[in-house]
């Protein structure tokens, strides 16, 4: 018994050391998929000698476990910075007063629409919302409203609009079309028997297996399947003149208020916002679209300047997302 | 204490359990050296009475004296069970199956921190007393019913109690074993001089064991 107690005391004494402040380290919470983000963080560690303590989100929590952790820890923050896989969360955190402004020198090449004007968050390496289409589908969809077309009844699928980037897409439609048209669209999805999947990855898998004709997913989900040799094609929605364009969703990095290691955090932010990082993320399986001009995009995806982009204010999308939740829950 | 002196005295014991009154101002004296047999219908409180004397239970009201010393008053235990110079053989024997025969018997002595040699000596003597020489390292589960009964008796006797309480100790045994053990209990009682309070339903045991009989009736 006494050895057990002694052992427990020893463990106790050394257990808290991991999060006690040590020089030369930084803690980052990451919502970008671990398989893509971890190699970059390890490269940063190797390059700078700064130890990176990373906490990743999981598929099960739909990318929100880390968000809620940040909010709950706000009175005594553990994270120094946060790498979100979309800017809406950044806005939510900014509105909750959890962020500190930082304008990285590496953010200069990034278009203004992908940054917070006061520097609370900066976008980088984006995805575009895109259709994956099965090879056997005779007529490919051209726009989001094709989900409602009778010829595609029961032949299409979309990820659950209550979570993730699909919710952002719905909020974007809300901002462009208004409440009535959004409700029509959502009801139309049900009436046209559009299947609901648990996530973009599942949607892409089902299309590539031929169970459905097309699905609206993130470009990284599409590229991953393409590189696995699955026979699908990609269609950028709403690209014609006068149409609303494709929704671009950048990653976002932000500095936490009262970060314990602000210097190291800023260095990591600079690193993530660099053209080199964007190049790596473009060539990796996540196939992210660089926001810096001149950085080669993934070969499967068009460069940003070749895509008609949906004109949205990401800051406003955050509040739109909250406004449309009752509508979404009512219909789904 | 000489034979005939009062060794146990219960004064006005009242006890209610599960809405049933078991004792109502019940009094009893037991003389030193007696073999008192308690009889009565099932559920009348015979085992409860033994537990009250042992200090394993307390009455709602009343006093219990052992050797002239007040050990229990109303619901308060004034003297702990192991300090009352008594021991008990339970109906189900209550042998600890994870301990060997010797360890079962030696338990009380180990708790009292007797020296090792003393413990060995007393365990050996007690086993000899009950006819189980050489059984020290045997596992309880390997013993017959009669052998287990003797181990239970040895465990009760090793602490040299002045009072021994036995709650239907032979109920699991067949006639021939019972007969033999009755004789051995009586011989041990006469040799060691302890006061015996014995609960049984068996008429033969009553006849053989009792120097005095007390019948408990339901209230």
């Amino acid at each position: 018994m006494r050895y057990l107690l002694l052992g427990m005391m020893t463990l106790w004494m050394f257990s808290g050391c991991e999060r006690l402040s040590m020089d030369n380290e930084v803690t980052i919470y990451v919502s970008e998929d671990q398989v893509f983000s971890e190699p970059l963080l390890k490269a940063f560690e190797k390059k700078t000698g700064i130890k990176v303590n990373a906490i990743y989100d999981t598929e099960e929590s739909k990318g929100t476990g880390v968000m809620n952790r940040l909010i709950a820890e706000s009175n005594n923050p553990q994270a120094d910075l946060y790498w979100a896989n979309e800017p809406i969360r950044a806005e939510v955190l900014r509105q909750k007063g959890i962020l500190a402004p930082y304008k990285s020198p590496n953010a200069e090449g990034i278009p203004e629409k992908f940054k917070d004007p006061k520097g609370y968050w900066t976008g980088f390496s984006a995805r575009v919302r895109i259709f994956v289409v099965h090879k056997d589908l005779a007529q490919k969809p051209t726009g989001v409203m094709d989900y409602l077309h009778p010829k595609y009844q029961g032949r299409s699928i979309i990820a659950n609009p209550l979570f993730g980037t699909t919710t952002i897409h719905m909020a974007a439609l809300y901002s462009l079309l208004g409440k009535e048209k959004l409700m029509e669209f959502l009801k139309g999805l049900k009436e046209n028997k559009v299947a609901i999947s648990t996530g973009n990855g599942e949607s892409a898998d089902l299309v590539s297996k031929g169970e459905y004709g097309f699905a609206l997913v993130d470009s990284d989900d599409a590229v991953v399947r393409l590189r696995r040799g699955e026979v699908i094609s990609l269609v950028y929605p709403d690209q014609e003149e006068g149409e609303m364009g494709a929704l671009v969703i950048p990653n976002a990095v932000m500095l936490m208020k009262n970060a314990r290691h602000p210097k190291a955090a800023k260095k990591l932010i600079d690193y993530l916002l660099s053209s080199k990082t964007e190049a790596k993320l473009a060539q990796a399986d996540c196939a992210q679209i660089p926001l810096h001009a001149g950085v080669t995009p993934p070969k499967e995806i068009k460069a940003l300047n070749e895509i008609r982009i949906m004109q949205v204010d990401y800051a406003k999308l955050a509040s739109f997302m909250l406004e449309i939740q009752p509508i979404l829950r009512q219909i789904f | 204490m000489s034979e005939g002196d009062v060794v146990i005295e219960l004064k006005s014991i009242s006890l209610k359990r599960l809405e049933k009154r078991l004792f109502d101002r019940f009094s009893l004296t037991v003389a030193s050296g007696e073999r008192l047999v308690l009889v009565g219908a099932s559920g009348v409180g015979k085992s409860t009475l033994l537990r009250l004397i042992a200090g394993l239970m307390v009455p709602d009201r009343g006093e219990i004296y052992i050797d002239g010393v007040l050990v229990t008053k109303d619901q308060e235990l004034l003297i702990e069970p192991h300090k009352r110079m008594l021991n008990m053989v339970f109906q189900d024997l209550a042998l600890w199956s994870h301990l060997s025969v010797a360890k079962n018997i030696a338990f009380a002595l180990e708790i009292a921190k007797y020296p090792k040699e003393e413990i060995l000596r007393r365990v050996k003597n007690t086993l000899a007393m009950v006819g189980l020489e050489g059984y020290e390292d045997r596992a309880i589960d390997t013993l017959s019913g009669g052998e287990q009964q003797r181990v239970a008796l040895a465990r009760a006797l090793v602490s040299e109690p002045k009072i021994l309480l036995m709650d239907e100790p032979l109920s699991h045994l067949d006639r021939s074993h019972r007969e033999r053990l009755i004789q051995e209990i009586i011989i041990l009682q006469e040799q060691l001089g302890f006061t015996l309070i014995y609960v049984t339903h068996d008429a033969h045991e009553i006849e053989k064991v009792a120097t005095r009989l007390v019948t408990l009736s339901p209230i």
Partner: protein, 506 residues
């Protein structure tokens, strides 16, 4: 004993109170600005409540019924290797539910139209049945081993085995069925993962939605209240199942039903079909992997597996250590307000893991408590808060079976309550303690929702690591990691089997 009553009461309240502080924090967070919270439950939520009730009822009934049937077949008849079959079906419990659900969904998708049948209520019921069947089997097996064979023998003198089962054995098993039913009911009621994958709307989903879509912990807690109220109402039902005095307190060889050769073959075949069906998700996992991906998983997941082991072993050991003391104090009725305390423990068990995680953060993420929050002890505290209930109940159930005379003999020998507990009761009940340890270990090994909210960087357990890898990770590697987890828990299982078989042959 008065000082023991005072000490016992104080320490019980201290232990349970301490563990429940994060839960209190959550409720404080909810109620301190109660009037600013839109706490009116939307009408649709009542439908979700009914869905959850229907699902919980279905899973609990099905698992308990088949648990009884299979338990009698595997542990009380001459079917070969029945005891082994009863262990193999635990695989479904060990695989992370998210992966389990997808495994089955993939199979039904391949079968075309079956997916329509499989989605929704029936599919969720089907999967959760496999997940919770082992719990029912475990309880049935435990109670079967304690039935006095003399009771059945005497009945066999006047009737056949059907009569004995109907009039003696099954009535004696009713407490096990009751405990099994309510336990599985509660576990299913708080279920989200499988229901989410199979798109069956359940009430716990509302709490999760508030949490994940709205970042609203207050509403999430509010939505979790009905779950907790159901659990508290059930607590006294479970308590009733614990006082079973006419079972033998120690395991005894059970009377075996002897089937004829043909019947044995048929029932044996049926049994193996059931076992193979339960193993399907594992086969699916194995079919996805190759040697390369398995070694990659080994390379990447070994540290996470070690952490899982460390946390689960430490957590379940503490559950048993504290559970023994609490169970003894409860069993001896030495604690004032014991039922209330048990209700608090149950609350920790039934509270959605995500809410528990938030409570832990809110309470322990303070400058003065970084020694705890900063290390893996925060995970252990979470495990204790969630699973101390299970351990305490199992141990109390075991203690209540043994005759009081065993303790009385120790008291008469001069042993203190601590000596009685350590030298008599604990050694005598070591199998029950190991069972409590094993159940706690299995639950902790597969826990992910709470762990992912509180684990420090670099302390991801294997279930959390698997879930982070699932997001666009190589499916082969994810499958290999899941297989690694299943293999990892087989070790203590084999140890348990070894001691169990040795105990039977003693």
């Amino acid at each position: 004993m008065n000082w023991l009553r005072w000490w016992g009461g104080f320490s019980s309240w201290a232990i349970i109170g301490g563990l429940s502080l994060p839960i209190l924090m959550i409720f404080y967070d909810l109620f301190h600005d109660f009037f600013t919270v839109d706490h009116l439950m939307p009408m649709g939520v009542w439908r979700l409540l009914l869905n959850s009730l229907a699902l919980s009822l279905g899973v609990a009934l099905l698992s308990s019924f088949f648990g009884l049937l299979l338990g009698l077949l595997w542990f009380k008849s001459n079917i070969a290797l029945g005891w082994l079959m009863g262990r193999i079906v635990w695989v479904s419990f060990l695989i992370p539910p998210y992966i389990l659900a997808f495994s089955w969904l993939l199979l039904f998708r391949q079968e075309g139209g079956l997916e329509v049948l499989f989605s929704g209520f029936w599919g969720t019921l089907f999967i959760l049945f496999w997940v919770y069947l082992p719990i029912s089997l475990l309880l049935i097996e435990r109670f079967l081993s304690q039935i006095d064979p003399d009771l059945e023998s005497s009945a066999l003198l006047i009737t056949n085995w059907w009569g004995v089962l109907y009039r003696v054995t099954i009535p004696l098993l009713l407490p096990a069925l009751k405990v099994s039913f309510w336990l599985i009911f509660m576990l299913t009621f708080g279920e989200i993962t499988v229901a989410n994958v199979l798109r069956y709307p359940v009430f716990a989903m509302e709490s999760f939605t508030q949490f994940s879509a709205f970042y609203d912990t207050q509403m999430a807690t509010l939505m979790a209240l009905p779950i907790m109220m159901v659990a508290l109402l059930l607590q006294w039902q479970i308590r009733k199942g614990l006082t079973v005095r006419w079972l033998r307190w120690r395991a005894v060889p059970s009377l075996s039903i002897k089937f004829g050769l043909l019947t044995r073959w048929l029932l044996g075949g049926f049994s193996w079909m059931v076992v193979l069906l339960s193993l399907f998700p594992l086969f699916n996992l194995v079919s996805l992997i190759d040697v390369g991906s398995f070694f990659e998983a080994l390379d990447r997941g070994t540290w996470a597996l070690f952490l899982s082991f460390r946390d689960a072993i430490l957590g379940s050991t503490l559950v048993v250590l504290w559970g023994v003391i609490l169970a003894y104090l409860f069993y001896k009725e030495l604690v004032w307000g014991a039922n209330f305390l048990k209700g608090v423990l149950l609350l920790g068990f039934i509270l959605p893991s995500s809410i528990m995680g938030m409570g832990l953060i809110l309470f322990w993420n303070q400058p003065w408590s970084m020694m705890i929050y900063g290390g893996f002890w925060i995970i252990i505290l979470g495990y204790l808060g969630k699973y101390l209930f299970l351990g305490t109940q199992i141990i109390e159930m075991g203690l209540s079976q043994s005759p009081s005379s065993l303790e009385e003999a120790a008291i008469l020998s001069g042993a203190s309550w601590w000596q009685t507990l350590c030298r008599i009761l604990i050694p005598l009940h070591w199998r029950t303690l190991f069972l409590a340890w094993l159940v706690g270990f299995l639950f902790m090994m597969r826990e992910s929702s709470m762990t992912m909210l509180v684990h420090p960087a670099g302390e991801e357990t294997l279930p959390v690591y698997i879930l982070t890898q699932m997001a666009n990770g190589d499916p082969k590697v994810t499958a290999s990691l899941s297989l690694l987890m299943v293999l990892g828990v087989i070790v203590p299982f084999v140890v348990y089997l070894f001691y169990e078989r040795r105990g039977r042959s003693d």
